[in-house]
């Protein structure tokens, strides 16, 4: 087997395995969500009404867009255009920040209304709604941490593209970072309808 092909394929297998573990990690939370939604359909609906559907949709569009930009960034690099690649990666990071800003805005708005874990207002609501918000914070919070980590990883990749240590001949770290980023996008693709679109 080609030695270099070997090394790249190995890295790819590794990152895909890591992606599977992340799916299972969030899966545990999806498990809790499914059970509690089954038992509290009305309360979950009520909770969902409290969330801002416009901001949720905006965040979905932002993440889809930065999935596009990171894919374009890798494609640009593979076509021998590192400068263009760097712009796309930078755009991805900017979008990611945008996502976090919207999220922070949403969360602080909820805190203002007394809808945070263990708050008296929240505890006075039906129990199912308390669970809804508990899961909301837990799942979007864990997702947000992954976005933050993604920003860190992509920033390192951006520096490497600019410095020339990631090149068209050796794109593997950028490719793997992109795969991680798409995972982050995919998780949100499921979080969005589960929290914002309950009818």
């Amino acid at each position: 087997m080609n030695d270099r092909e070997d090394a790249h394929a190995g890295g790819r297998v590794g990152i895909w395995l890591f992606i599977s573990t992340e799916i299972i990690l969030f899966g545990g939370l999806f498990l809790l969500y499914s059970m509690y939604r089954l038992k509290n359909p009305v309360d979950f609906h009520a909770g969902s009404l409290e969330l801002n559907r416009v901001l949720g949709t905006l965040n979905t569009v932002i993440l889809i867009t930065c999935s596009l930009t990171v894919a374009l960034g890798i494609a640009a690099l593979e076509r021998g255009r590192p400068k263009q690649s760097a712009w796309f990666v930078a755009a991805t990071i900017a979008c990611a920040f945008g996502f976090l800003i919207v999220k922070a805005f949403e969360w602080t708005a909820k805190f203002h209304h007394g809808l945070y874990p263990n708050a008296p207002v929240l505890l006075s609501l039906p129990k199912g709604e308390n669970l809804f918000f508990g899961l909301y914070y837990m799942m979007t919070g864990l997702h947000g941490i992954h976005v933050l980590v993604g920003i860190g990883v992509l920033s390192v990749m951006l520096v490497r593209v600019l410095r020339g240590t990631i090149t068209p001949g050796n794109p593997i770290y950028l490719v793997n970072s992109g795969l991680y980023w798409h995972l982050v996008d995919m998780i949100w693709i499921f979080l969005f309808p589960l929290f914002y679109l309950i009818t």
């Binding site: 590794g14 545990g28 809790l32 509690y36 874990p117 263990n118 308390n130 508990g134 899961l135």
Partner: protein, 542 residues
């Protein structure tokens, strides 16, 4: 470029090799899979000894008139004993010590595919252990919930649960990354000619285990995080007063922790599968069945977790489903036992220490496995749940199974790793003492549990006294045997006779290297033309 290895001994053993870094750094920054295996071994030996000492203290406490611990201390003792044994010893031991050291060699590769990630997993492991230790002494003190951290008690008890469960989270990360390294290495770095069905069965064991590490461990990760969030922020997912369901904690916990026991046993079974052919001078019986049974145990074993919860409030329907699946998972294990026995049948048996450990493994694991069927059946479980029967069962499968398998691996691979041979007569004596002590210690627990002695209790009704005394005495005998094992191995390390490259006459690739190997395992990657247990076709060298 390091010295090339030759069989005349003109080379530098891997533990003396001078690389980029001097002194201690050459170990702390090692990426050589053999050195990382040793790093893990030193830590795990330390943790094991600590947990054994805690266990001895517990057994002294259970002797009449010897209550040296307060009830609170006893709770902390069995919790710590469990956490250390489960997360710091039994789950990591065989994969991180012997998987790291031998997997690349067994498949004819140069190292694990991600050597720096490998070193990182060791740092995570040590970090997790440090956090667990710190949690004993700070922030409210040692956890008293049992290693299972059941809610609601773990949410209310004032001891340092958050730090302890966060330590488990970190250890889980280490395990996941090790699993990723192993699966990728097996897929990418096998030598030319080594198809999946020419790999030694120990590699199949590591491979199947790694899949469980990858697919199950994230669940314990998220569960531990949820406990931390519950304690810090009162989210309510496990709190009935806020709508939560405590039984969902148990579901999440056991979804990992049951497959975890297969993480414990599969590598050990893999090593046993390597050992029997060598000491029977005969090819393994039913290679493919053993390989597939490893995968079957890994997959079916991930479907049975509800058998821990028959009497916790789980529905009867679910109980029936889980019980049925539990009985199913016994089948692939039985297949392995049958194949090992068939391997020995009409073989030319060499009675050496690894073989003795492997043989006693079958005996002890079978008792453990069969008693698991008692527990897996719904009606007996009502009587036996949370009694000493359970304690006896899991010590037979984990200690009698994985523990003896680990000892077999140590005694089998010791000459390869150290270049020395231990004193064999002494090791046989030590084995016998451990074996006898083990059975005196743990067998009475089945009777105690059957008669109603609850587990995790520091005191008991008078009718249980005699058996507790017997068990405690058995534990002292067993520990004396363990000490003798350790002393014998230490003496072998320091002053043992020089070991040849292939003292047991094995046909797998590690025996083609000198004892101990040099920094680079193979001068040249071998081309594989035969199976791992073909003794009649074996040529000298590869």
């Amino acid at each position: 470029m390091p010295e090339q290895v030759t069989h005349t001994g003109e080379y530098v053993p891997y533990f003396l090799h001078k690389g980029k870094y001097p002194g201690a750094l050459s170990w702390l920054l090692a990426t050589d899979h053999k050195r990382i295996g040793l790093l893990y071994m030193v830590c795990i030996a330390t943790f094991f000894s600590t947990a054994v000492v805690i266990g001895v203290i517990m057994r002294i406490n259970m002797l009449p008139g010897h209550a040296i611990l307060t009830p609170q201390q006893y709770n902390a003792a069995f919790t710590l004993h469990g956490i250390i044994m489960v997360f710091l010893v039994v789950i990591p031991a065989v994969p991180t010590i012997f998987g790291n050291f031998f997997l690349p060699i067994l498949i004819g590769g140069r190292d694990m595919i991600f050597p720096r990630l490998n070193l990182f997993t060791w740092y995570l492991f040590v970090f997790g252990a440090v956090l667990a230790m710190v949690s004993v002494f700070f922030g409210g003190g040692a956890v008293d919930t049992g290693w299972t951290f059941y809610v609601p008690f773990s949410l209310k008890t004032t001891v340092n649960v958050p730090l302890a469960v966060f330590a488990v989270f970190i250890l889980g990360m280490s395990s996941i990354l090790t699993g990723i390294n192993i699966v990728t290495t097996v897929h990418q770095l096998r030598a030319p000619g080594m198809g999946f069905f020419k790999m030694p069965l120990s590699v199949w064991g590591f491979y199947a285990t790694a899949w469980v590490q990858i697919l199950a461990t994230p669940i314990i990760g998220i569960t531990m995080l949820l406990v931390v969030m519950e304690r810090l922020f009162g989210i309510g997912v496990f709190d009935p007063s806020k709508g939560g369901d405590p039984l969902l904690y148990q579901h999440l916990f056991w979804i990992y922790s049951h497959p975890a026991v297969y993480i414990m046993i599969l590598p050990a079974m893999g090593v046993i599968s390597d050992i029997f052919p060598v000491f029977s001078r005969k090819n393994i019986y039913g290679y493919k069945m053993i390989a597939f049974s490893s995968l079957a145990i890994a997959s079916v074993g991930s479907l049975v977790w509800g058998h821990h919860m028959y009497v916790s409030g789980q529905s009867d329907t679910a109980g029936i489903i889980f019980s049925f699946l539990t009985f199913l998972v016994a089948v692939p294990s039985a297949i392995k036992v049958f194949n090992w026995l068939a391997t020995m049948y009409k073989g030319s048996i060499q009675v050496e220490p690894p073989f003795l450990y492997a043989l006693s493994f079958i005996f002890l694991f079978s008792i453990g496995g069969l008693t698991g069927l008692f527990l897996g059946a719904l009606s007996p479980n009502v009587q036996l749940h949370n009694t000493y029967f359970v304690v006896g069962h899991f010590h037979y499968v984990i200690f009698g199974g994985m523990g003896f398998g680990l000892a077999a691996a140590i005694h089998y691979w010791f000459p390869k790793m150290t270049g020395k041979m231990y004193n064999k007569p002494t090791s046989v004596v030590a084995w016998l003492i451990v074996f006898v002590g083990f059975n005196i210690f743990y067998f009475p627990m089945f009777i105690l549990g059957w008669e109603g002695m609850p587990r995790r209790y520091c005191d008991y009704l008078p009718q249980f006294t005699t058996l507790h005394q017997v068990a405690s005495i058995g534990s002292f005998i067993m520990v004396a045997g363990l000490v003798l094992v350790a002393i014998n191995l230490a003496r072998g390390l320091v002053a043992g006779a020089k070991a040849e490259a292939n003292p047991w006459g094995g046909a797998t690739l590690e025996w083609t290297l000198p004892s101990p190997p040099g920094h680079e395992d193979f001068e040249e990657i071998p081309v594989i033309t035969r199976g791992p247990y073909e003794f009649d076709k074996k040529e000298t060298g590869v």
